[in-house]
């Protein structure tokens, strides 16, 4: 079974490479995003040294890290699922001896590895020339970050699978998918670090899975979460991974029974 998923990841890698323009423009888009947030935060800070306990240098580093993490965990499999349900291609997936959702997750991983290696890493190296920015110094910190990032990927993919599978019931759910995208970007700490939210909002967000997607791994990378607390954060992520499996398997079972194949 492992061989199959490796092959799926490889194929996704190949299809992403097939479009050269995508590949080059991807690198540029990452740098534009990071650059835009750099200037935006510079303007927000104005002359001030410190906002919500973060210096302007820490903030720009945070933005760059958050975008690098996003390159890995971000994927569009919910839209892919919706597309495949709408044009009936899901029928082809159902005649294969594998679990459709697991395969989608494997494809997303292939995409994530691709984006991380060819968009984010070169982008980061480029950015590190212009921004005051330091990579984790110990192997342990790197290990913690990568573990946390992988779990962030799993949690985000699970949320995407949930919104994707909803297509089986709602048929058109672009609205939900778009809302999810905005909510994930905002509440995961990509646009605004969690410490900038009001206290009551932070309290609510502790009970939501979103900050496990970006805030946790980024804080580990930046060193704001030390090695002693990193284990705790990773455990929290694992708990979310397990909790989210439940509604997915439930919805999927219902979807299998309700499935209608479009066209013919």
């Amino acid at each position: 079974m492992g061989k199959l998923y490796l092959e799926l990841i490889r194929i996704r890698f190949l299809t992403m490479l097939a479009y050269r323009v995508n590949y080059y423009s991807g690198i540029i888009i990452y740098n534009i995003n990071i650059g835009a947030y750099y200037f935006l935060w510079g303007a927000i800070y104005g002359g001030q040294k410190n906002l919500a306990g973060m210096t302007v240098e820490q903030m720009t580093a945070y933005v760059a890290i958050a975008w690098m993490s996003r390159a890995f965990y971000f994927n569009n499999i919910d839209q892919e699922i919706a597309q495949e349900v709408r044009d009936g291609k899901v029928a082809i997936e159902m005649i294969r001896p594998y679990n459709y959702l697991t395969v989608k997750a494997a494809q997303a991983l292939g995409e994530g590895i691709f984006r991380f290696l060819v968009f984010a890493l070169p982008g980061m190296i480029l950015v590190s020339f212009f921004l005051p920015f330091s990579f984790p110094s110990t192997w342990g910190a790197w290990g913690n970050y990568l573990t946390s990032l992988l779990l962030a990927f799993v949690i985000n993919t699970e949320i995407n699978l949930l919104t994707g599978v909803l297509t089986f019931f709602l048929f058109r759910n672009e609205g939900i998918m778009f809302a999810k995208r905005v909510v994930v970007d905002l509440l995961s700490g990509l646009i605004l670090p969690i410490s900038f939210f009001p206290i009551w909002a932070q309290a609510i967000m502790n009970y939501l899975p979103f900050q496990a997607i970006n805030y946790y791994p980024s804080m580990i990378f930046a060193g704001a979460v030390g090695p002693e607390k990193a284990g705790e954060v990773i455990l929290l992520q694992i708990i979310w991974v397990v909790i989210l499996l439940l509604p997915i398997s439930l919805l999927w079972r219902l979807a299998r029974r309700k499935m209608i194949v479009q066209g013919g």
Binding site: K3, E7, A18, A91, I95, P97, R257, M259, G263
Partner: protein, 336 residues
């Protein structure tokens, strides 16, 4: 091999209310109508058969195939194929079947068929020399060697379809489903695919189920035909029997050496239930409804009573039969 008993599939279809006010009401409270797409179907198939499932658009063929391939879950009835219950043991079951959807590609659009085959090999865990030899044989017999490394998006429909057939057979399934495999293909490609399928059925004893609108597919490949209409199975039997049941019967045109009238021939045949009509002074057309029993009698009687110079048999082809079934549907349903 295939056992199906009382298979049913119901769909709930949303009924939109008319007008703007209706659309607003639909926001809060929707009306649904239940439609039986497949209604109490039963049949059995032995290993090694090639058989066709035909019917008009919306007759329930595709839904039936989708239930048989494990894609859809039936609303009722029993089904066992290759020893599996398709919708319950889907992942195990689909390893024993191959499926070609004529309207839907299973190849990766941006990759070459060869890359797709490679991926399918690991999907189905086809390994070793045997698997390679089998793939080589598919490539050779379908004559796809010259374009198998080009991206799928650059292939013509005929080329792509042959690659689709190869892709569906990579794991050497015992049972092959073809859902309208020849739609839009030219005659040469059609022939090539048919020949290939026939050969596969003979050498590998592969069971083949075909749905099609193309009557020549059925004539070239199938002995057995199932006809569906409005979700019900209205015929299950040999193609020859189908011809007999709904065909216009057989027509025999006799050419006589001397001038012969209809009355003279009728006198010889007695009150045989057949229609006689005059072609010209020397020629008479006899239309027989149930050919198998009556044809020899008619032939021998006429031949021994008159001087016959030529006999021509006109058999209705399947195309006419299908048209007959579709046009006399109400009557057919009453019979069924």
């Amino acid at each position: 091999m295939i056992e199906i008993k009382g298979l049913e599939k119901e769909f709930r279809i949303h009924q939109a209310r008319p007008g703007l006010a209706g659309a607003f009401r639909d926001l809060f409270n929707r009306e649904y109508k239940t439609v039986k797409a497949v209604d109490d179907i039963s049949f059995q198939v032995e290993a090694g058969e090639i058989f066709a499932l035909i019917g008009e658009n919306g007759a329930g063929k595709s839904t039936t195939i989708k239930m048989m391939t494990g894609i859809l879950t039936p609303s009722g009835g029993e089904m066992k194929i290759n020893g599996f219950v398709p919708y319950k043991q889907r992942e195990e079951y689909v390893k024993s079947i191959g499926v070609v959807f004529g309207q839907r590609s299973q190849l990766w659009w941006d990759l070459s068929p060869l890359e797709s085959f490679r991926l399918l090999k690991s999907v189905y865990k086809v390994e070793g020399k045997e698997g390679d030899a089998w793939l080589d044989r598919l490539v050779e017999e379908l004559e796809i060697n010259s374009f198998v490394s080009q991206p799928v998006r650059k292939l013509s429909l005929g080329q792509r379809m042959r690659c689709e057939v190869a892709a569906s057979l990579i794991h050497r399934p015992q049972l092959l489903f073809l859902d309208e495999p020849t739609v839009g293909l030219d005659v040469l490609v059609k022939q090539k695919i048919r020949e290939f399928l026939r050969n596969l059925n003979e050498t590998e004893k592969m069971t083949v189920l075909l749905t099609t609108h193309d009557v020549s597919d059925i004539e070239a490949l199938c002995k057995r035909v199932l006809v569906m209409d409005k979700g019900k199975l209205i015929f299950d039997g040999l193609l020859a029997d189908l011809r007999e049941k709904w065909g216009n019967g057989t027509e025999v045109v006799f050419q006589f050496k001397a001038k012969t009238t209809v009355e003279q021939v009728r006198a010889v045949l007695g009150d045989m239930p057949c229609e006689l009509s005059r072609e010209n002074e020397y020629s008479i057309r006899i239309k027989i409804q149930r050919s198998q029993e009556m044809l020899p009698y008619v032939l021998s009687t006429v031949m021994s009573s008159f001087d016959v110079s030529d006999v021509k048999m006109v058999e209705t082809n399947t195309e006419d039969i299908v048209r007959n079934i579709y046009s006399t549907k109400d009557e057919v349903v009453a019979h069924g």
